[in-house]
Subunit: 499 residues, 2 copies
């Protein structure tokens, strides 16, 4: 790593007191050591997983596995200890038994390391004094050595611009969404479920017990981070509630902020404590505060992904709650109407004018023109344009929900008939894009993918075409409807109480 690059990091984010961006360097290490990887399947494989993950991203700095038992790992030289690594080491990932950490922390201090991430757990989250004391010692020694700590008990950082990652095979392309997650599992899950739907990230931070850097630090950082346009957060408990909500108010004034709180019920609260040593606190109070500061509050990881999708891909929140539903297959449309209602939206009866015009060209097979519009137009793209535009032209319709896709029937049929499936997909997405332009109303897509390999393949090919053209795609009607309803409620709330 050259001096020039070092200087550039320093210039962008001077490490001055009170500057939230001062911690930026932890996202841009010039070299990384992973302590504790092993070629055996088992716990040590988690250390190996970090090495694989960073290799896959194409990380250009030094990458050093540390384990005295092996000489090589994954084609890399394996070092007996941190102190044996020849060059400087900026960032160290701990994946070793908890009883061994203090010695390695001392090595980090001696080596001039800048940040440490502890995948290792067994600290304050155990609920036992021994673990809590160990955590305090780690932080104390780190502070004396000028090292920032991420975790312990977490999977650390994914920052594609810096080519570092916590999981093998994660997307290399960066994007405008940031996710800070007290849970490592949720950090990884969000990435894997959001990526196929076109969400790309500036940073994902899993911060576990938050012994040193905590939710306040990260939220303040992301608020200022020029690479982040939308912020999502999963929190179990907060270290400093006053600071966190102040930071959330500031963040929400500048960017959409979506918050999921873990630990809803009695046993959930118990799991929160053992997970990251946070006290869950009152859920009702937390939720009320989230809304009060102008953030969006969600109840599950699925809802969190879904809100990212509408904020990322819809240019404007819909003007109202009227949904025009267009799809194929009657059973679907029966539930679509119920589900849209239950989400707090409406599927208004289409006007006589629209119904009559639709009736002219809608095939009678499985057709209804009232709303939902149950059409097989997906099989005939030219009719689909007209259908979407007509439904959008109804005054009572604020947003179009199109249920489509190639997961099941059309994909298999086209393939069995020897037709050009990619060409057909392209034609459908063209139609959708034209309809969106002509209709001047947002279009949200629903593509249900049955859990079959072939269907997943078709769906992913179709999904990528959709999100590259800026369409949010949901796996089900209820999920689409809920996300739209929340976005509308969020807009109304902000209009009512301007900040």
């Amino acid at each position: 790593m050259s001096e020039g690059e070092k200087k550039e990091v320093g210039e962008r984010h001077p490490a001055q007191e009170g500057d939230p961006l001062a911690i930026d360097y932890i996202f841009h290490p010039r070299s990384v050591a992973v302590v504790g990887p092993s070629p055996q399947f088992g716990f040590g494989a988690m250390g190996t997983s970090f090495v694989i993950a960073i290799q896959y991203m194409g990380f250009e700095g030094g990458l050093y596995p540390v384990n005295p038992t092996y000489e090589n790992l994954l084609g890399l030289k394996c070092y007996p200890s941190l102190l044996d690594i020849p060059g400087p080491v900026d960032h160290v990932i701990f994946s070793i038994p908890v009883r061994a950490v203090l010695d390695v922390v001392d090595d980090c201090v001696a080596k001039g390391v800048k940040s440490m991430h502890f995948f290792t757990a067994g600290f304050s989250e155990t609920g036992e004094e021994e673990g809590a004391e160990l955590e305090r010692q780690v932080v104390q020694r780190a502070r004396q050595g000028g090292i920032r700590v991420i975790g312990p008990n977490c999977i650390g950082i994914y920052c594609p611009a810096a080519k570092i990652s916590f999981g093998p095979g994660t997307p290399r392309a960066p994007g405008p969404v940031a996710f800070m997650s007290q849970s490592g599992g949720n950090a990884a899950d969000l990435l894997t479920s959001a990526a196929p739907r076109g969400i790309r990230f500036s940073k994902i931070i899993s911060y576990g017990n938050a012994a040193d850097l905590n939710e306040g630090d990260f939220l303040e950082y992301l608020t200022e981070d020029p690479d982040t346009e939308i912020i999502a957060a999963y929190v179990e408990g907060v270290r400093d509630g006053r600071r966190f909500f102040r930071a959330m108010r500031r963040a929400s004034a500048r960017k959409p902020v979506i918050v999921l709180k873990g630990g809803r019920t009695e046993s959930g609260g118990r799991a929160v404590f053992s997970h990251t040593a946070s006290l869950a606190g009152s859920l009702a109070v937390f939720k009320a505060l989230v809304r009060q500061v102008g953030a969006v509050e969600v109840d599950s990881m699925d809802e969190l992904v879904d809100m990212l999708l509408v904020f990322r891909f819809l240019e404007q929140p819909p003007a109202g709650r009227g949904v025009g539903i267009v799809g194929g297959g009657g059973g679907f449309s029966v539930f679509a109407a119920d589900e849209v209602d239950e989400a707090g939206l409406k599927a208004p009866l289409l006007s006589q004018r629209v119904q009559e015009e639709l009736r002219r060209f809608t095939p009678v097979a499985g057709s209804s023109v009232r709303n939902p519009v149950d059409t097989l137009a997906i099989m005939e793209p030219t009719k689909l344009t007209d259908t979407l535009c007509l439904v959008a032209s109804d005054e009572a319709v604020d947003v179009l929900l199109a249920h489509t896709g190639f997961g099941w029937g059309p994909g298999r049929v086209a393939t069995a008939m020897g037709l050009d499936l990619d060409g057909l997909m392209e034609a459908v997405v063209d139609v959708l894009a034209r309809a969106r332009e002509a209709a001047k109303k947002p279009i949200v897509l629903v593509v249900a993918t049955p859990p079959l390999l072939e269907a997943t393949d078709y769906s992913l090919r179709f999904l990528e075409r959709c999100w590259r053209r800026g369409f949010p795609v949901f796996p089900s009607i209820p999920r689409a409807a809920k996300a739209i309803a929340r976005m509308v409620a969020w807009r109304e709330m902000r209009e009512d109480s301007p900040r």
Copy 2:
């Protein structure tokens, strides 16, 4: 088709008055004609889809595409009309414009056809007198000709034992579950979502407008059908409510019956009418009746699949509501506890004895031993056996919920490390099977599959191993918990009111 086979069908199910099995022949046609297929992508492709579907199943009888425009289709001779087909035709699938059906019905009568299935729609479900009148005429002519009608406005029949199907690429193996569905889309969706989880079917019947054969006929048939052990039904409205509930009471006394009603809200009711011309009726009354006759009532297609899974794979309903949750990844366990609570089950605090024994060998990394038991034991199969058996040994635990799988991390890591992934999967499933035997309590699995091609591949390979060993596998904790809770409630209800 030989006379011998014809006789066999006749012997099994004599077509006598009042015998519900008299309609068995409609599931076992010796030859099938599909009227209206086309090699063009578009509406005609739906007809082609039926031909592809039946070919794929390995149907051994005559299969005849009928369309005057083409000479060949999919390697089969294409006939100008039904009357041009040389041999007998038992079953005819209509996939033609509605205005053309009466002429073809007359051809069916002339040809001595036994059953007609109308994919064609545009009948009473349009809400217009013209369509309703056409439907009456079809049924009248059919009855005069001794032909039974399936539909109209539906996708008809899947019967793997007879090698007929309504969708391309459906499983060829039969199984003990039957599904009768007023909606064709739901019939296809259930098949595609249940199949990868090990559900195989005796029959799936999509019956649409139920103009001739209706929900009562099919339910009475399935009650007597020796190939059917579990019955699922999706109904929008019923033609003869008294008969249907009487039939459901009889069916529920002999087999688990799971019922989903479409048309919950005002706009859902509207969609029901346009979909299959049924009046939705009062949902509350319907639900109460379903429970009263001893059937299981569900609220969505997902719940319906999930109930099939517990009835198919759990030998006994759990003895109570205590769930021992074992899984990896703390964020997961936080929600698991909440979700189990919200489903009406309990995640009891494990006894001191069990906690202490677990603590001896549970790796501290990401560990909790209270319940949920957050363990990385999935990476070390030997520890997983001990963990499961210990948790099961707790008196407060009635059922184990194990969150596992190879969708994301372990699959990718093992593959990147060049390990034998299939061998690792086999080891985990062996462990689960041994634990189930030792623990003498049911084990329910949760495998979350992120929507990636590679993850779907890993998951499906793992899922197949699981269900072949008799494990029900759910895609999420809430879905597993809800299904377990419903099964327990169903057992309690039956114990309270013996029939």
